[in-house]
Amino acid sequence: MIDYLVTIFTEGSIFAIMALGLNIVWGWSGDFDLAFYGYVALGAYMTLVLTVGPASSPTEYILGLTLPFPVAVLLATLSAMLLALIVGAIALRHLRGIYFSIVTLGAVYVLYILAGQFVPLFNGYNGLSGLVAPMGDVLGIDYSSYQFFYVALCMVMLTIVLFGVTRLSGSRFGLALRSLREDERAAAAFGRDIYILKLKAYVLGAGLGGFAGALFAGYLTAFNPSSWSPVETIILYAAILVGGRGSTRGVVLGVAVMVMGLQEATRYLPEIAGHPSFAPAFRLILTGIVLVVFIRFRPQGILPERRMRDGDPPGSPGTRPEPAPGPQPVTGPALETGAA
């Protein structure tokens, strides 16, 4: 039971960091990025090639360094951000909406095919392995209790990320990104450099993706093309949409429901003889159904993005007694005709 909880909280923390990153790109600045899981994968691959040491025949991969895990995580995060800077600089320049999405989809498939087919890069389809219990020996943690260390590490990282993201979300930077999502021409008319702002959000989001990927590599100890596919970005979108697009609390809840919840709910489905892929397929079907239900009945998600509520600080200029409390006809014509 305790192992089970450890697994859930480790994976949940990692996926929550990913989803928070994607939420900056889609939830805040409004770009439907399909390359996102590519940054996660790059973070994982880079962590491995930076820590596991030189390749020995028949394996092949780049770098093959033995850097300390934290340094590798940092560099892996930076490499994901660098790739995002290149992809974003091209895709965000003039493309929006579906055109942007198609270009990012193209970019992630290039990475996917390269990782799988170009063996000298990340050892092709066999992938990379050998990152066992990172920092374990340095800290003197034995193998049996290592998982507790790692779950604590992931949860601390999630807490730090949550702290930063929450602060950014309510800041002027976060608000300016929302204005791009809502209407970028108006944002430009009021002084915002939409290209640079969107690029910042894109690189920042990809950085969180790469960081989550690096933690993922430490958790999985190995990474290869069968452990990820570009489609997984869609699962993260499902989590964000169900939780509440743009809402930090919502995204974490969305990951709990859509990624961890659905996975656990379908884990113990009866095996159907001759159809071993029934459970994973059923999970995807269930994801689709939940998604459709939410888009139809609650598109703002379970915990919608909160907007600023301005109370009346007593005595401050510009305020005056509100009309009687209770629902006001705010959209009706009362205001117009009354003022004429």
């Binding site: 602060r167 930077f173 108006a186 915002r192 600023m308 200029p317 705010v330 205001l335 003022a339």
Partner: protein, 262 residues
């Protein structure tokens, strides 16, 4: 009376169509300048060229002596020339008050690291002052009770007023209003006129594109008449009535005009 905005020989063509050709006029500081002309005269294209949303093929635009033609929209906005659009472009998912707060651009405060660090005491005080100013502006325009409402939920006329409030908040040197009466209940006209004159009182000069001629007559000091991509006359509205070219191109159409352009 000095020219705040000077447009010289501005030209733009799309394929073989000259939308704007050798267009020249000026707008004076502290005045309301009307820009009128029949549909297809090139008014909207001219606005896009002045504000950076389209790049001119030729010509110069000077904002208080600074050349701005060809610069990107955000740079022109930061230099003090802000525009509105033909249809209201509020930020619909944000509240009315947030719409106002965001209109006051402050590049330093929007920087990533500064935002991550959180506001200093001084910045908090500045933000509080800004909120007070936003509330005052909303109060003047009769929108205070709607400040926590999402701007997208407002009626068309209210959205126009939110746009006006944003301009008041941004305090540009010059604002270009693109058909502010479009789709607005004429009953709101007097309130809109007061708001336009309020800009001038607050130190923002105005260029206004509008088909509602009584409104133009009411608020403008100068009127620029465009037809077929070029300026055919400039002067106070009264003098244009006797200008045969203007009557032929535009005013002659007046009898059928009901002022409810959409």
């Amino acid at each position: 009376m000095t020219a705040l905005l000077e447009v010289r020989d501005l030209s733009k063509h799309f394929g073989g169509v000259y939308a704007v050709e050798d267009c020249s006029f000026s707008a004076a500081e502290g005045q309301v300048t009307g820009l009128i002309g029949p549909n297809g005269a090139g008014k909207s294209t001219a606005i896009d060229l002045m504000t950076g949303f389209k790049i001119p093929d030729a010509g110069t635009v000077l904002l208080d002596g600074t050349p701005i033609a060809g610069r990107p929209p955000h740079r022109i906005s930061r230099l003090g020339l802000v525009r509105t659009f033909q249809s209201p472009r509020e930020w619909p998912g944000l509240t009315v008050l947030e719409n106002l707060v965001l209109a006051a651009w402050n590049g330093r405060r929007e920087r990533f690291l500064r935002s991550l660090r959180g506001p200093t005491k001084k910045e908090k005080a500045a933000a509080a002052d800004e909120l007070v100013r936003a509330r005052q502006i909303l109060d003047e325009l009769g929108l205070l009770g709607l400040r926590n409402e999402r701007a997208g939920n407002l009626s068309g006329g209210q959205k126009r007023l939110v746009e006006f409030a944003r301009i008041r908040m941004a305090r540009p040197r010059l604002v270009i209003l693109d058909e502010p009466m479009g789709g607005v209940n004429p009953v709101l006209g007097e309130r809109m006129a007061t708001a336009v004159l309020g800009f001038v009182a607050a130190g923002t000069s105005v260029i206004i594109v509008e088909h509602n001629l009584p409104f133009i007559e009411r608020v403008t000091d100068q009127v620029v008449v465009m037809a077929a991509g070029t300026v055919i006359a400039q002067g106070p509205f009264d003098t244009l009535r006797s200008n045969q070219a203007v009557v032929d191109a535009y005013l002659g159409e007046m009898p059928t005009y009901d002022g409810a352009d959409a």
